[in-house]
């Protein structure tokens, strides 16, 4: 059975859900194989509970985040989560993800793309793997572009078991001058080049659905 239970549903096709949230606190109880798209939703707290043998892909894209966001995930046995966050903000924000892995044979892949236009955005990812568990995988791929603002990324993975495969990749940078020059040499104005680079970056971990819905 493939299903997702949330407070406010939504739209559904082949286990793919576009969530239109009416409250700031949302709970996902996931069973089976599910994909969720969250586009420009005003979510403060998102709790995700993955039942055993379930898989959840979350595509979360907000190009003007108006609040802090906390996402709490619980995984028990044989589950997989791919959480793809894309966030742009002009204001001071905290985007926090806590994933607690309590059982065996789970996979957690958390990817974030952050653009800060003015103030500091903190992106804190905490993955915790319980002791005496086996065959868990915890991966983090966290990237930011400071487009006039500041970014702080904290990739924390706490493993109390010896049998965990864990890896994280974190980069924060400004625009690549070489990339802008390259696009300008093809006939793009500097502003257009920057726009394309930012757009490409923010959607680089998102699904085609989000890219098509997202616009500029």
């Amino acid at each position: 059975m493939n299903k997702i239970l949330v407070s406010d549903i939504i739209e559904l096709c082949n286990n793919e859900y576009v969530i239109n949230v009416k409250s700031n606190d949302v709970i996902f109880n996931v069973e089976g194989n599910v994909k969720v798209y969250l586009i420009d939703e005003l979510i403060n707290n998102l709790d995700i509970n993955l039942k055993d043998n379930s898989k959840l892909d979350v595509y979360f894209c907000n190009k003007n985040v108006n609040n802090n966001v906390v996402i709490n995930i619980k995984q028990n046995n044989n589950s997989e989560i791919n959480l793809n966050l894309s966030i742009i903000s002009n204001a001071k924000r905290e985007i926090i993800v806590n994933n607690n892995i309590y059982g065996n044979n789970n996979k957690s892949m958390i990817s974030s793309r952050i653009i800060s236009n003015k103030e500091l955005i903190k992106n804190i990812i905490n993955v915790y793997v319980e002791k005496d568990t086996i065959d868990n995988i915890a991966l983090e791929d966290l990237k930011g572009i400071t487009n006039g603002g500041l970014i702080q990324i904290e990739p924390n993975i706490t493993c109390l078991s010896n049998e965990v495969s864990a890896n994280h990749l974190t980069t924060i940078g400004n625009f690549s001058k070489e990339a802008i020059n390259y696009l300008m040499s093809k006939g793009l104005k500097e502003l257009e080049a920057k726009k394309l680079i930012l757009q490409g970056f923010i959607y680089s971990n998102q699904s085609d659905y989000i890219k098509n819905m997202g616009g500029d």
Binding site: L183, M184, K186, G187, L188, Q199, G200, I202
Partner: protein, 247 residues
């Protein structure tokens, strides 16, 4: 067409060239040769408008002083470069970049059907899988694929002055044949001026005639035609410079 008029070229206050003159007329092919590190690519980047390089003097393109124009403005005039290691741009597809550029150039919306058809036909002629059209620019591509993608851009953008910075380096025999044929076809169709930077004759021999400039010691040491290229390639840079008592 291009006139580099007695310039001094610097990078970070280091002098790369002094009193450099280079005139390339419409439809002419010129070849820059010289040992590694002599500054061949620096000339290419200075023509392109890379701000890393400081130019004292003037560079003219079609009688317009382009010395203070930026890369975009020079590109709009028809100047185009294929670098030896083309950039990878994550998240920006070839189609997206070309659509944006072409609509800026023509000030008209792009006819997507025609645009895709043209790109597919260019890919076929370059023996390049058409899936690259909608892939991120050069990301995860081999050296040969990157050079072909740069030529795909060239065919779409139709520049009038093309700089080929060691486009022949790192290509296998089949790829170099495809690249050379594509360039020759473009040359025959649009008659652009071409500035080639190379260490071998594999690409330049595709063209019937060309001018050669040997660079060393911050200047052009020797100029000639395809015979000079042959001499350079048979003797080597060091021996030729010694034999000719050039330094």
């Amino acid at each position: 067409m291009l006139n580099i008029d007695n310039i001094n070229l610097y990078i970070n206050d280091k002098v790369l060239f002094e009193g450099l003159n280079l005139k390339i007329n419409a439809g002419e092919i010129h070849v820059l040769m010289g040992k590694n590190g002599v500054g061949k690519s620096s000339i290419a980047k200075a023509i392109l408008g890379d701000e890393t390089y400081k130019v004292d003097g003037h560079i003219y393109y079609n009688d317009i002083d382009i010395t203070n124009l930026n890369i975009y403005e020079r590109s709009k005039l028809g100047i185009y470069i294929v670098n030896q290691s083309p950039m990878e741009i994550e998240g920006v597809t070839n189609a997206e970049m070309l659509r944006t550029t072409l609509s800026d150039k023509t000030n008209e919306p792009i006819n997507i059907l025609k645009f895709n058809k043209e790109l597919e036909s260019i890919c076929a002629s370059l023996e390049l899988d058409k899936r690259f059209i909608h892939q991120d620019i050069n990301v995860g591509c081999s050296g040969g694929e990157k050079k072909k993608i740069e030529l795909m851009h060239m065919w779409m953008l139709k520049p009038s002055f093309i700089i080929l910075d060691e486009i022949d380096s790192g290509l296998d025999v089949d790829a170099i044949k495809i690249v050379a044929n594509s360039l020759k076809k473009y040359y025959e169709e649009y008659k652009p001026s071409i500035l080639i930077i190379t260490h071998s004759n594999t690409l330049i021999d595709t063209f019937d005639d060309y001018y050669v400039h040997l660079l060393d010691n911050k200047k052009i040491l020797l100029e000639g035609n395809k015979e000079l290229a042959k001499e350079i390639l048979s003797k080597g840079y060091k021996n030729l410079i010694k034999d000719e008592h050039l330094l």
